[in-house]
Symmetry: C2
């Protein structure tokens, strides 16, 4: 449970919800069945973050590389991502989906959210989903974008702000291509438990740890 | 001490040698005095990595942002970086310095190493130093580089390969702008001890941990 009043809260938390397939295997299911068990954790996390006053959440949905997995898995995480976005349209969130829409892998159901921000309810939080995202796609976009001065305004994901804290479930300590520009100064917290085993305590542990980190931005 | 034979070794290790100023404060010195105590650890780490068969090392020297620090500190880390490069010219290494040379902050002594690779001794390992590096400088370079097809061949640091493992000393869990492209799939290991307190055991602990990490590259 939440143990302290937070003196220092991240404005923007990036979420890497890893471990769905391993969770399925541990629970005697086929790997692709794990993804559906990652939807409710996302809604629960949103509710807790909203209560705490977090202003922005970004979920790492799936990447162009992920889509090279077996078709049954690809279809399963596409469906799970659509369901997760739809679940959050019933909440108070401004939703944006960032990813390459020029691909059959990008779900039709999310095209109306793509690369714009759609308000729902009271619009109390910005929520971004990366869907058919690729770090090279994101960065290469800058070369053709002559309207902006700063690199971070030129990239495909420029509507997503810098992340203060990244929490990764599933024990792995790597970014796996998650927003290379917005993550340059992010503090990185690892939860060993798999994402479908999400508990609010994981979030509180990450925030407890975040209290003790200072922000220097290289200065 | 080294406890096991490594079945799986990183080809390329990135080093974030953080904590020099904190170490100085803990040891009743002025902050800027800490940097000189970071040179011998770098040489010791090189020796151990060479013995293990590591093919490439990249040291995060200093950034354009770091150069906004008080002048006495800036001069101290410039000097320490020059001394570190020079110490390694007596070893068997191919040395390259990557950074923005169009600035007074870039040390004159390193200009001959800048953005090329200079062989020393038997040339058994590639060693890269980031000197007056900036992640925006690195990525923005791609926009003006029309000769290459892939984004990672266009950036200013394109001669530096993908890092398999990043080890950061000093307890902080963030990249701080360290090679955003080469770090997208890197495993990230944190040593709580400060860099001047380097011990070979830190390296061995990181490599022990690395044994158990799998490489998926998103697949």
């Amino acid at each position: 449970m939440q143990s302290i009043e937070y003196k220092r809260l991240p404005k923007h938390i990036g979420i890497i919800p890893d471990g769905n397939r391993r969770w399925a295997t541990h629970n005697n299911k086929d790997k692709h069945e794990g993804y559906q068990f990652g939807i409710n954790p996302g809604v629960a996390l949103y509710e807790k973050c909203l209560g705490l006053g977090i202003q922005e959440l970004t979920f790492y949905g799936f990447t162009q590389d992920n889509a090279k997995r077996p078709k049954v898995q690809t279809q399963a995480f596409q469906t799970a991502c659509v369901d997760a976005v739809m679940a959050l349209t019933h909440k108070d969130a401004n939703i944006s989906v960032i990813g390459n829409t020029h691909s059959k892998v990008f779900p039709d159901e999310l095209i109306d959210f793509a690369n714009k921000r759609v308000p729902f309810g009271k619009g109390l939080m910005n929520i971004n989903f990366l869907i058919n995202y690729g770090w090279q796609w994101d960065l290469e976009y800058a070369s053709s974008n002559k309207n902006e001065k700063h690199f971070y305004d030129k990239i495909a994901s420029s509507d997503i702000s810098r992340m203060d804290l990244i929490i990764r479930w599933g024990g792995r300590r790597r970014l796996s291509g998650f927003l290379p520009v917005q993550s340059v100064y992010s503090d990185f917290y690892i939860v060993d438990e798999l994402w479908p085993d999400y508990q609010d305590d994981h979030l509180y542990q990450a925030l407890d740890w975040y209290q003790s980190q200072d922000v220097t931005l290289g200065g």
